[in-house]
């Protein structure tokens, strides 16, 4: 089963979100696989978390739809997964999904593009698996039959540029494509010495790419790795990039409303601004060293809404440190409602968590050698936390 969700009839032609998610952990033709060995396996190994990453992203989308967080109704989901045995054991439902072979990918991609024929619609593409880079600015995604003999080394792969170019508004004005597109490329971009020897190594086209008509897409591409570097994953868990993206979509990249809908939201630009910090936090937790590269293309767009203001981790400190023991800290909402209060700012700095929003704060020293301080501020997610430093020295 590839098309695991199809609500097109329900939407009666209204624009919706068409998602295409592909996660590959098990590769048939690299060491540990069950097929004839690839002639040039590029030193690759079996993976243990990328199919799970695809699965979890698809679950996130379904949850977001259920909680009315998406900017448009979720219309269709194409899902291809090639999990490892351990992943199958952990999440048996993955076994019912079609494998991420080149043939399945081509069929799913073409259907996905056909479905996304409303210019007001939106597409989401997520790939997690092995990737290589033949040259700068290049990204090739390896499908589960990568290296299948005979044929070229990259016959069972996909060129991201071909995928992206094929989603541009077609030259034939009568044909439309969703102009909001989102790409997550959760794969390495490591060059291999083989590419120097064999020039580019061709990747078969996914589809015929006609030169575009006016390309006014909003189509950011979030690469998990900068050119020439690797992506990382927690074995048996999920990829670091997916942790960071999820944290951005759910909280870290949330910004207050700038339109009539009062809900906090996550936009392309807010994710681009927050992603480095989110990935650094994930790196810290998992001792990783990944760096990602978001490439913006077109106008800002809303990716998701939050049902409630995001939780904001804050720390308050006073200067001088010695005053912490004799200072009371009070936080009230813009409407004057008590939000947080502590008689002494200990431990110092003092951590607390409140929902995002505007707050007034006051630091009241019991000792007259210090001066009281009060002000207002917007508390919104920051990593590792939002620091509130208050000077009470006279």
């Amino acid at each position: 089963m590839t098309l695991i969700l199809d609500r097109r009839d329900e939407l009666h032609g209204a624009p919706g979100i068409h998602a295409f998610i592909c996660g590959v952990s098990f590769y048939h033709h690299i060491p540990g696989g069950d097929g004839a060995p690839a002639k040039k396996p590029f030193g690759l190994k079996q993976l243990s978390s990328t199919a799970t990453t695809g699965w979890l992203f698809h679950q996130w989308l379904l949850d977001a739809q259920k909680n009315d967080r998406l900017p448009l109704e979720l219309a269709t989901v194409h899902l291809l997964l090639s999990p490892s045995q351990a992943e199958r054991d952990a999440i048996p439902e993955m076994g019912a999904v079609d494998p991420a072979s080149r043939e399945n990918f081509v069929a799913a991609a073409n259907e996905w593009r056909d479905f996304a024929s409303n210019a007001d619609g939106m597409t989401i593409f997520y790939f997690a698996g092995h990737g290589v880079q033949r040259r700068q600015n290049d990204s090739v995604l390896l499908l589960d039959d990568f290296g299948k003999p005979p044929g070229g080394s990259l016959t069972y792969t996909v060129d991201v540029a071909n995928l992206f170019d094929g989603m541009a508004p077609p030259a034939d004005a009568a044909r439309k494509v969703a102009l909001k597109q989102l790409y997550f490329i959760d794969a390495c971009r490591m060059p291999d010495k083989e590419f120097k020897k064999n020039d580019w190594m061709n990747v078969p086209d996914l589809w015929d790419v006609d030169l575009n008509s006016k390309d006014d897409r909003s189509a950011p591409v979030f690469y998990a790795a900068i050119p020439g570097t690797s992506a990382f994953a927690v074995p048996g868990g999920q990829t670091l990039f997916s942790f960071a993206i999820k944290s951005c979509l759910d909280r870290v990249a949330a910004i207050p409303s700038d339109d009539a809908d009062p809900r906090w939201r996550v936009t392309t630009t807010s994710v681009i601004s927050a992603l480095d910090g989110a990935l650094n936090a994930v790196n810290k937790n998992h001792q990783g060293e990944q760096k990602c590269l978001p490439v913006s293309y077109g106008k800002d767009m809303i990716l998701t809404y939050l049902t409630d203001p995001p939780a904001v981790d804050c720390v308050v400190s006073v200067e001088p440190d010695l005053a912490a023991n004799v200072c009371e800290f009070k936080l009230t909402t813009g409407a004057g409602k008590k939000a947080y209060e502590v008689a002494h700012i200990v431990p110092h700095p003092h951590p607390f968590q409140v929902p995002g929003g505007f707050y007034n704060y006051a630091v009241v020293p019991a000792d007259p050698q210090y001066k009281p301080a009060q002000d207002g501020t917007i508390l919104r997610p920051r990593l590792p936390e939002l620091e509130l430093k208050v000077k009470v020295s006279t």
Binding site: G43, L44, L47, S49, T50, G129, H130, G131, R135, Q136, N137, A161, A171, A187, C188, M190, D205, V209, D210, L211, N212, K214, D215, D216, A225, I226, P227, S230, F232, A233, V234, P235, T239, P256, S257, D258, D259, P262, T269, S270, S273, L275, D276, Q287, G288, E289, K291, L293, S296, Y297, G298, K299, D300, G334, F358, N360, D375, G376, T377, I378
Partner: protein, 407 residues
């Protein structure tokens, strides 16, 4: 109604008049207006929350109770009486914060990381370099002019007069000139790094040499403070602020082609194709020696679907040289790849496709040494016309002595 002015956020002479985007919200966080701090704003009486974000990530929040009288909101971070130095403010508030070093030494990896992580997707070897006590770093700056795509470059006198000096940063001014120029940092055991100098007849640029315990790293800043702020937002991926700043920059009458290019790259990034209008053509014709004018015009035409004309414009790039900004190289790589692909190539005259293939191969080879995390074109190699990744060994060549600059 109340008229509100802003003071700051910068205090140094060079940056004093620079405006940053300011958001004005109600206490319920409904957005009222986004303005530039260099402008005033008229507001209804009431309470407002004013926020501004600087390129390096500092966020300034002020609460404004607007009454009937004119008011000034102080956005300064540093409110001390003494005027801050440019060499202090620029690195602190504008410089890039993500990846300061164009080339990093291989860092020793932690064994714990090896245990708990899989490097996605490929095995790797732990770097064996030990952590050792830092020595006083050595390094020289050199300068080149010419077209790296066309052969050997000409060396010219490197900067020698220090514009300003801080504890760990020295500033040089690169004078304005109508030529494609590069600065090169040569340090022992590191690949020499070449950085494009975004200068024109109208404006020079500022070279910042940062001293670290074991090396120097070089940053280029535009002399035009507004464009430099925009570049800071770009480099630090502060895109909401970048969009507002770019729009504002291009509203003004620009006499600085480099600033115009920086703004145009932003407009392309944000898909503001209509706003670029004929402006990209003007940019291309205005300064025929600047490669970026052709790269911007070509990408603009390509996005408009004018592919025949776009290819002609892209083919004009090699005669001009390597774009000063990495976005220009990306545009060339991506478009030439598309135009030389088998299906698309049938839509162009064969001789133009052949020329495009030749250029694509040349740019692809060159771009192997380009750091695409940098906004300003940055690549490695002792000979800028033959980039490579070889570390430099041996006696340092003549040039501006970085160590001496800090004495």
């Amino acid at each position: 109604m109340t008229y509100v002015r802003f003071r700051g956020p910068f205090g140094s002479t060079r940056l004093a008049g620079v405006g940053v985007p300011v958001q004005i919200r109600t206490p319920e966080l409904q957005l009222v207006k986004t303005v530039m701090s260099s402008d005033g704003v008229t507001l209804d009486p009431g309470r407002y929350i004013v926020t501004a974000r600087l390129p390096a990530g500092h966020e300034i929040t002020r609460v404004l109770d607007a009454g009937d009288a004119e008011q000034t909101v102080d956005l300064r971070i540093d409110t001390r009486a003494a005027q801050p130095l440019e060499s202090t403010e620029t690195p602190a508030y504008i410089s890039q914060q993500r990846t300061p070093n164009p080339v990093r030494r291989a860092a020793p990896r932690r064994k714990a990381a090896k245990r708990s992580m899989t490097r996605g997707f490929e095995d790797y070897v732990l770097a064996a370099e030990p952590i050792s006590a830092p020595e006083a770093p050595q390094g020289v700056l050199r300068c080149f002019t010419g077209n790296p795509l066309a052969g050997p470059m000409t060396q010219f006198a490197p900067p020698s007069d220090v514009l300003e000096k801080g504890t760990d940063v020295v500033e040089y001014r690169i004078k304005n000139v109508n030529a494609l120029c590069f600065t090169q940092s040569v340090q022992p055991d590191l690949p020499p790094v070449n950085i494009s100098l975004p200068i024109s007849q109208q404006r020079g640029c500022i070279l910042l040499v940062h001293r670290q315990p074991d090396r120097y790293w070089i940053e280029v800043h535009l002399e035009n403070p507004d464009a430099n702020l925009l570049l800071g937002y770009q480099q630090n991926r502060a895109m909401q602020e970048e969009a507002v700043t770019a729009e504002r920059l291009l509203e003004g009458k620009l006499d600085d082609p480099i600033a115009a290019m920086v703004g145009a790259y932003s407009l392309l990034r944000f898909g503001e194709l209509d706003r670029l209008h004929n402006w990209s053509k003007h940019l291309m014709d205005w300064m025929p020696w600047i490669p970026d004018g052709a790269a911007i015009r070509g990408e603009h035409l390509a996005r408009l679907g004018e592919h025949q004309e776009a290819l002609e414009v892209f083919l004009a790039v090699p005669a001009r040289g390597v774009p000063m900004f990495a976005d220009g190289i990306s545009f060339l790589l991506d478009r030439l790849r598309l135009y030389t692909s088998s299906r698309a190539a049938t839509q162009f005259p064969p001789e133009r496709v052949a020329a495009a293939k030749e250029l694509h191969a040349k740019i692809t080879e060159f771009s192997s040494y380009v750091d695409f995390e940098k906004i300003v074109t940055t690549f490695t190699g002792l000979d800028p016309s033959k980039p490579d990744t070889r570390p430099f060994h041996g006696p340092l060549p003549p040039g501006t002595d970085c160590a001496a600059a800090f004495l």
